[in-house]
Subunit: 465 residues, 2 copies
């Protein structure tokens, strides 16, 4: 068999076509597990979801096991290793945990009861990441069930803590460094601009997270009786946070921009290929006006520039009507997106210093460090990238584009550090998938093309060794 | 009978002494109703509480009825009018509604299961206002049950919307102007510095309330994918609010201080009589440092200076762990305390203008006006005030002091406007009663002395006509 001639893949593609309706059923089963890693109440659901995944992997012919960690379990599934000479090894990474679905009332249907409308499948985790990851499992199933030779040894590593910082994955990779040794890691957990523009993502933003609490009086106080004599923790918090960003979106923290790699002319040209006008983008987001750092297009701002975001605010009375109090404390959840080549440890340090400098003596500041991940950049001209671009083009029937992505996949840097493996980011999410938002969905077209792309990828990667 | 000789009151005082244990039971019954006016879920509890009150008033010999309003009902209870010549009429005002008890987890015992520890009775509403108001009912009960002549015609007006701005009371007073015509209104809903310093309150702060919401994208957005291209509504809210107050506690809104009456030398001297050091006050509140407008003592700041307070903040994800979103919106509950002679309508106008001026074009601002009340000032040298001071001194056995109070009783100005009646504010709350806070309590000593003060008050007021 000549792996440069891809005719032998046809039975695999036929199998994918014949089973496409059942693949949707499989995905719906997978999506029914409310595998929310951030919430302790879903611990049993996490375990049940991991168990379902292992059972599924075994049914399609993989050797699969659940690996316990200090947090949520990791599922590992391998293609059976034959007696033939060693083939090139690749990892396929995915995650079975999902973002919290709150606020539930904004969902048109139950986030954990998958609903199909047209060519969209609505459910929490449909796009991020269950649907994208299952596409790869389906492609491998097609190889195994049609007895078509896979010219690569494949190992799926599917974790349950991606949405909470992949706490356990690093030590798991270290402990299983030998078994998991690979040429590269294939990950579909990013986006593509449209079905006509499949994308290879060559850079990612990093992230550092904090939870900041301002403590004032030892209890909520009557604002009439005591107001005017104690600092209001909610106001103190607002006054601290307000100083962290200027009105053009630039982060106002000394040292924060240290190391930021400015965009090259070539990169700015690639970014400009995105087929989305600022007017359409504004409309899609539903904002009165776009906003962002001066001197950059929105495509550059969201992928190649660092940011500060307040993810949540909590203080005092939030119920119906009013409650005339000075609240005892006020909290904010903060994340900062980082770009190549910011150093997360340095960024954390300058943020902590700035927060402490801004805190007045009338309140007490408590800062909890949350998850973090380094920014990532890989050469789009490498053989690895070229193999991915080829599979994308064949499956989607359109010339793929090179993209920077604004999101963070902290584990990409872990793979680099621990396994010395680059990552191939072949994202299948469309811009309107509502990842992390109510009414998350996954395109059934992306699901099908994604499986084909997965099937076409392995001969390409086998070729480069 | 000579009403200048108070010996005839002795049977009334004896009755109060003999029944003091049963009066505690009555108060506990009253406190078991979770009469939270702000929360729609407690509507039935509100009605049940009003019903209990009417039944109780009838049992002690009053003519009582529940009056429906557009909101929560008002209980009216009158002493039986005899055939003797008309006596001077007085109103006694109180409220049976209470503040929300949230956050429940900070209560040492169920807020609606009264608990006695030493000389304190713990329950939501114990001090504000069920205990204080029931003391007056008990005093009148003692007159009626001992057949001691009351030289005044008394009408209790006990409403259910004080904690949500007394929305219905104004129109109720207007509709019943004739029946409710009175010389003055007696109200125990304020505070006293200690059992050795009973107090007459001669001034109150007013209040205006707002709920401010900043709307950004039409849904929560993934902060990695979109962060940097849209304004963050939580940050926009913080930046707006941060500009409303300077770091010394002065409200930063043009026109806000228009009309503020500066304190006279005499008033500052009275304020200085408060037997509380700044160090003890700071310790009592549990703050790292006191805070407030420069040039005023804490006693002046909390009673005679206007303020801004953030009562609550809400935005985005507030659960466990993190959720990497740009939230769709962010809200704040705000109250401003006003002092004589600020005009609430003018203050509302300048606040609205300031909020709109501060809002950037990248988000949409929604402002809901909440409840409001005018500040109040009455002469402490009037015969009315002197009668109150006399009753306080006799009941508590100590020289009372004259106070300004930081809280708001908006209806005091309603009584003035609609019934042309001054209010006599004879507060029975101690500084550590935790009104509006978890673990609210009422001192059983204040309860007993309060009943005696109530009993001694009517001959005094009858005397001045």
């Amino acid at each position: 068999m000549n792996i440069n001639n891809h005719d032998f893949v046809q039975p695999v593609l036929d199998y994918l076509e014949q089973n496409k309706s059942r693949f949707i059923d499989d995905l719906c089963q997978y999506l029914r597990y409310p595998s929310v890693s951030a919430q302790a109440g879903h611990r049993a659901d996490m375990a049940a979801c991991a168990k379902w995944l292992v059972t599924h992997c075994r049914q399609i012919g993989l050797e699969a096991r659940v690996c316990s960690t200090g947090g949520h379990p990791i599922v590992v599934a391998r293609t059976p290793r034959g007696r033939s000479p060693k083939k090139p090894s690749y990892l396929i990474y995915g995650h079975y945990d999902v973002q919290p679905a709150e606020p539930f009332k904004l969902w048109k249907s139950d986030p954990f009861k998958p609903r199909i409308e047209g060519r969209s499948l609505f459910a929490r985790g449909a796009s991020d990441n269950k649907g994208q990851n299952l596409a790869h499992l389906n492609a491998v199933e097609a190889y195994l069930k049609t007895n078509t030779e896979l010219h690569c040894d494949l190992t799926f590593v599917i974790e349950g803590e991606e949405e909470v910082g992949s706490t356990s994955l690093g030590s798991f990779l270290k402990s299983n460094r030998k078994e998991l040794a690979c040429r590269a890691v294939v990950i579909s957990d990013t986006g593509m601009p449209s079905l006509k523009l499949p994308a290879l993502t060559y850079a990612l933003r990093g992230v550092v997270a904090f939870e900041v609490t301002v403590h004032g009086p030892s209890r909520d106080l009557h604002s009439g009786i005591y107001g005017g004599t104690v600092d209001n923790p909610a106001m103190a918090l607002c006054q601290i946070l307000a100083q962290l960003r200027d009105k053009q979106g630039r982060v106002n923290i000394p040292g924060f921009y240290d190391g930021v790699a400015e965009l090259s002319a070539h990169e700015r040209k690639e970014a400009a290929r995105l087929p989305l006008s600022a007017a359409d983008y504004r409309k899609f987001l539903g904002v009165p006006e776009l906003f962002g750092e001066r001197g950059y297009t929105f495509a550059e701002q969201r992928a190649a520039r660092p940011t500060i975001e307040i993810n949540g605010l909590t203080s005092g009375y939030q119920g119906e009507g009013s409650k005339t109090i000075v609240p005892a404390h006020a909290s904010a959840k903060l994340t900062f997106r980082l770009v190549p080549n910011q150093d997360p440890a340095h960024v954390r340090k300058v943020i902590l210093k700035r927060l402490r400098d801004l805190c007045p003596p009338t309140v007490r500041l408590e800062i909890k460090a949350g998850h973090g991940g380094e920014p990532y950049l890989v050469s789009p001209r490498s053989p690895l990238a070229r193999a991915g671009l080829h599979a994308l083009k064949e499956a989607f029937g359109h010339e793929p584009i090179l993209m920077r992505e604004g999101g963070s996949i902290p584990i990409v840097t872990e793979f680099k550090k621990i396994l010395h493996a680059d990552s191939l980011l072949l994202g299948l999410a469309l811009p309107d998938d509502n990842a992390h938002s109510p009414n998350e969905k996954f395109s059934l077209d992306c699901y099908e093309k994604g499986m084909q792309m997965g099937a076409l990828l392995w001969p390409e990667l086998a070729r480069i060794g």
